[in-house]
């Protein structure tokens, strides 16, 4: 069996690029975007399995035209096939809808043994899409995976919980949300870049997938307002000799630091 892997990629603004004005509207300083960092790790996880056990890696991106940049980059890194689901201009911020669209696209592509997504995006850090996608595909999922092995149609993963490392085992198909420790994303090879230029990226529209376009009115949550995070008041630079500064700091922090407390809950 060749393992069939679908990796979902999201295009996100570069960090620090998004601002909100007083009217609560979003503004982009440069408008530049990048592949979501954890998604790049998910892709790396898929490519390592390809190296080890001979998988087929399909990358799937949903969104405006910019996601095509990430899809090409993924092909240049070694993905076999790229699929773009266009969102007809209304870039969705509804995780549940995104998961529904990705599920429909994966089904349309004939399913997958392993679906890999980044554990969260740098937009909201919520990590909702992976577990929701698994639910819509009716397959199990494991979050925050840092190691994956595939053998005899079974998947074994290692993941971090806050106070333990778990090893889990499942039959395919399964979805994993992938953490950084899976390994650093590889650089594209020259051969890969040439191949990526030539690769035809297949495109699905929402209606190709038999879905209705996202309507904000039907979302289960709505945004009441957007505002800039309150700025922190600018503090003070301590003055004097190093010893004087240290003495001041120790005094200033004294009330806030309970020295020599025990650590909590067996950690």
């Amino acid at each position: 069996m060749t393992v069939r892997i679908v990796v979902c990629l999201k295009q996100v603004p570069i960090p620090g690029d998004v601002r909100v004005n007083e009217a609560g509207e979003l503004h982009y300083l440069t408008g530049n975007t990048m592949m979501n960092l954890f998604d790049a790790h998910a892709l790396e996880g898929g490519l390592r399995l390809k190296d080890d056990v001979g998988a087929t890696v399909v990358v799937l991106g949903f969104g405006g035209g910019k996601v095509v940049e990430s899809l090409r980059q993924a092909v240049a890194m070694g993905a076999d096939q790229a699929v773009h689901v266009t969102d007809s201009g209304c870039e969705s911020i509804d995780s549940s809808y995104t998961a529904l669209v990705l599920a429909a696209a994966i089904q349309r592509l004939g399913g997958a043994d392993l679906v890999l997504v980044g554990r969260e995006s740098t937009v909201a850090n919520s990590g909702q899409v992976g577990p929701m996608l698994a639910e819509f595909l009716e397959i199990p999922h494991v979050s925050a995976v840092r190691k994956i092995w595939v053998e005899n149609e079974r998947v074994r993963v290692e993941r971090d919980l806050e106070w333990a490392v778990e090893t889990l085992d499942a039959a395919v198909p399964v979805l994993c949300t992938v953490s950084r420790e899976i390994g650093e994303p590889r650089l594209a090879s020259v051969k890969g870049v040439i191949r990526a230029k030539k690769t035809v990226i297949s495109t699905f529209s929402i209606s190709d997938l038999g879905l209705e376009p996202f309507r904000a009115g039907e979302a289960r949550t709505r945004i009441i307002k957007l505002e800039a995070a309150p700025p922190r008041p600018r503090g003070v630079l301590l003055q004097g000799s190093l010893k004087e500064q240290i003495d001041q700091l120790v005094k200033l922090l004294d009330a806030n630091i309970a020295m020599k407390r025990g650590s909590c809950c067996g950690r």
Binding site: S95, S96, T122, P131, E135, F136, D169, A228, L237
Partner: protein, 330 residues
């Protein structure tokens, strides 16, 4: 019809509710007082009588235990399945989960099963106009979205340190209701075959009141021990910038920031960290920020409460010595 009860999903570590669970109980109490419902702490798995009593002391009116052999360990799908089924039959108004790895994994799956609205990564919540509202930071915390759930039941995932646990003078004899789930009643498609508990003796970043964090300004991997020494004296957790995680000086679990952990200690001491937006994203909500950096222009000074301009290799040992002296005197 959906009731007015507020549920919280309780997580345990060694028979003790996690610190985040105690915070959720406070959040649940706050919402229930406004909605006019009860606070139910839901345990998927097992709970000792001590554990259940603790939940009562910190604000639960009722403890619901969903038990099944497959829930003894954390498997994402099974726990989501059990929780969703209970929400469906008992119809609480709100289900709160903590932004732990497990909570962030279970919540979306439950929401998708129920077709319910989910407010993820909330730093504040309120019961307004008969529904749930929450504040959700976006884009590394630079943008705050206030969101509302359109229909009940509503789910919310709460970031650590968004609520302070109540003082433990609640109900010590809280009622515990156990529901044994039928054999075969869970998917059981993923099996946990090993759990290796990490006995590092370290204070966890998420729980810490004080964090000492190091960056590339430490110069060399060996110098990270200066961070550890100060942390040791202060009973603090050790943090790091992405730069030194990438350089392999410390493991990823210490990384603070947009692609690391989001923390909210009382005191955050940034040593040789420039203060890139992605780092600030993870610690800008600390009560007090102390920055030690030899470059007066470093962006970290723009939000530091107290700054020391100096060489971290000199300042850190001096600070450790001063606090050590203080500790021995006090």
């Amino acid at each position: 019809m959906v009731g007015r009860d507020i549920w919280i999903w309780a997580e345990f570590c060694r028979n003790e509710p996690s610190p985040l669970t105690l915070e959720l109980l406070a959040a649940g109490r706050f919402l229930a007082d406004r909605s006019g419902g009860r606070v139910t702490a839901v345990v998927t798995g097992e709970v000792s009588s001590d554990g259940a009593a603790t939940l009562g002391l910190y604000g639960a009116d009722h403890v619901l235990v969903l038990s099944h052999p497959a829930l003894a360990r954390f498997s994402d799908e099974d726990h989501a399945h059990a929780l969703a089924a209970a929400v469906k039959t008992r119809k609480p108004a709100v289900l709160l989960l903590g932004a732990s790895i497990a909570g962030k994994s279970v919540a979306p799956r439950v929401a998708a099963k129920l077709g319910a609205g989910l407010l993820a990564e909330c730093t504040a919540i309120d019961w307004t106009a008969e529904t749930l509202r929450g504040v959700v930071p976006l884009y590394g915390g630079t943008v705050l979205a206030t969101k509302e759930v359109v229909a009940l039941p509503a789910l919310a995932v709460m970031r650590a340190k968004s609520f302070t646990p109540l003082s433990p003078d609640g109900n010590p004899d809280v009622t515990v209701e156990e529901v044994r789930l039928a054999p075969g009643g869970l998917p059981e498609r993923v099996k946990v075959i090993e759990v290796a508990v990490e006995e590092t003796g370290e204070v966890r970043l998420e729980d810490a009141d004080v964090i000492v964090s190091g960056g590339r300004g430490l110069g060399r991997s060996e110098h990270y021990k200066l961070v550890r020494e100060l942390a040791e004296v202060l009973g603090a957790a050790c943090g790091a910038s992405r730069a030194i995680v990438d350089a392999g000086w410390v493991p990823y679990k210490h990384q603070v920031g947009q692609t690391g952990k989001s923390v909210k200690p009382k005191v955050y001491i940034a040593c040789g960290i420039s203060g890139a937006v992605q780092h600030l994203a993870g610690m800008r909500n600390s009560d007090i920020i102390v920055a030690i950096n030899n470059d007066v222009e470093a962006p970290i000074f723009q939000l530091a409460t107290y700054g020391i301009v100096g060489d971290v290799l000199e300042v850190l040992p001096a600070l450790t010595a001063a606090f050590r002296k203080r500790a021995s005197e006090g």
